[in-house]
Symmetry: C2
Subunit: 300 residues, 2 copies
């Protein structure tokens, strides 16, 4: 369908919202929406997190039961790792109120958006992926401004109605993010390059340092901010990462191939001692990096 922009992003277009998965992303969304949504329910498998959802964040209700949690909700946000979202999409259909909107925050979009097409016809659904995060997950890491200024991918599905689109747009605006409409497969290929490959490369870098550190552990004493930054993603939460890598495997493997070619080219020039060519290649890369930071990146 062809969707028009939200008519009035300030007026809230629904009453009751349920967030499933009160980790970093779900918890930060709850914090950003506090006082803006009339009624918010938390669903989580962890009782301690559920307690915190009401005690610390002030959500109106909390339950470990999926069916109970989504009953009566106008908007249901699925904020768990990708394959848990896929499992939930198989289960929640019968418990959703007719006219409800389902939105997810999963890191890969093709499988999820396809599965959304199997929801009951009376339900609206939109794929989502906020491009923000932290290495550490969990509700304790949540932050009210996590989404602020971040690109928020929105993917249409076979169940995307005008209402679903408008509710999704309202949510994106309400958390301070920027909507980026994009097709699921295009999203998955892009994030393979700028997120999933960087994770694997970061992991391989730590693996290499660890191998060398077993020969000389003074290495760890010397590692400074350059190592901190390049290796940060290697500290990411494993369940989330595993779901990403498995559900986006062909794109990830394709990007590893591209990366390997880039590294091999640099290595060959270096091994040949061809300084003029090395300088040219590194300057080109430096320019691309600086252009991205100047023209596109709006984070901190």
């Amino acid at each position: 369908m062809n969707v028009a922009p939200a008519k009035d992003s300030a007026a809230i277009p629904f009453e009751r919202m349920t967030i499933i998965g009160l980790g970093l992303m779900g918890g930060s969304m709850a914090l950003a929406l506090r006082g803006k949504v009339p009624h918010m329910t938390a669903v989580d498998v962890d009782p301690v997190t559920l307690g915190a959802a009401t005690e610390l964040i002030g959500m109106d209700a909390a339950t470990p039961d999926l069916a109970e949690g989504v009953a009566g909700a106008d908007v249901v946000v699925l904020a768990t790792p990708v394959r848990v979202i896929l499992e939930m999409l198989e289960k929640i259909g019968p418990h959703l109120k007719p006219g409800a909107t389902v939105i997810d925050l999963g890191s890969t979009k093709s499988a999820i958006c396809a599965a959304m097409g199997d929801l009951p016809e009376a339900v609206g659904a939109m794929g989502g992926h906020p491009m923000c995060g932290r290495a550490r997950g969990g509700l304790l890491a949540a932050a009210r401004l996590l989404y602020n200024g971040a690109p928020f991918v929105l993917c249409e599905t076979a169940r995307t109605t005008q209402e679903a689109f408008e509710r999704a747009r309202w949510l994106v605006d309400a958390v301070g993010a920027r909507p980026v409409p994009i097709a699921p497969d295009r999203h998955d290929r892009a994030v393979a390059a700028i997120s999933h490959l960087p994770y694997l490369v970061s992991a391989a870098l730590v693996g290499a340092a660890d191998a060398e550190g077993k020969r000389d552990d003074l290495l760890w004493e010397l590692a400074a901010s350059g190592f901190r930054d390049t290796s940060r993603l290697a500290g990411s939460e494993i369940p989330m990462i595993l779901d990403i890598l498995i559900t986006n495997r062909p794109n990830v493997i394709d990007m590893i191939r591209t990366f390997r070619g880039q590294l091999a080219a640099l290595e060959e020039i270096l091994a040949a001692g061809d300084e003029a060519t090395l300088r040219k290649a590194l300057i080109e890369i430096q320019s691309a990096r600086r252009a991205w930071e100047r023209d596109h990146y709006r984070g901190g």
Copy 2:
């Protein structure tokens, strides 16, 4: 020689100091030592930087002339890219005052420490490498606390006297860094793993994203903090990086080989869809990364 710790790190063991190269490292050192060293001279090839050395930082003297700049100095700090340091070590010998101490801040140590052995016998010399920095170089990026808490590698050379060692120790203390004594070849191998390899990997990552971005430039819109961190080093100053890669080539190529093996292993497991093995490998890497941050990293 076997060097003893500085007797009294508070009392300044010299009067006149010259910093050659007022970029990020030299400029930050000058800022950190302001008010602590009785007389500081700046030497730089760039007249604008020289002007700023006196006007902005308040150094006592500034000259583009190497011979004039080192004349009468008790301590001479070489704060340029590695191969410029090597050139200067060939030139400054005759102009140094007998008993002067030469300390460098170069990113690789084997070639420099060997060249220091050819300085006049009346001169003391110590190799140095503060493990701190920023992606952008130049005096405008200088910061008084850049060295604060950072490991500061100190390498003995054939010209390391007790006095040279004590002066170097005083400098390290005065800028707030932690001395890490280490042999030049051991240093060069360790930094290949935790600094030079990460740079090349970061560059190859930007190269891969750039290649993919030429197919779909929406990719740049989606790149967020994970990409920012893993790609940051690719924005580093090229002259410095080229000197590092060329003077530490065998170690860097060796580390690329180790890295390639690590990445290939992860790719193979992923391609096989062997999730249990992938989980185990990624958890091991995550633990190594988190242990480093918890036990060793003292930066911000």
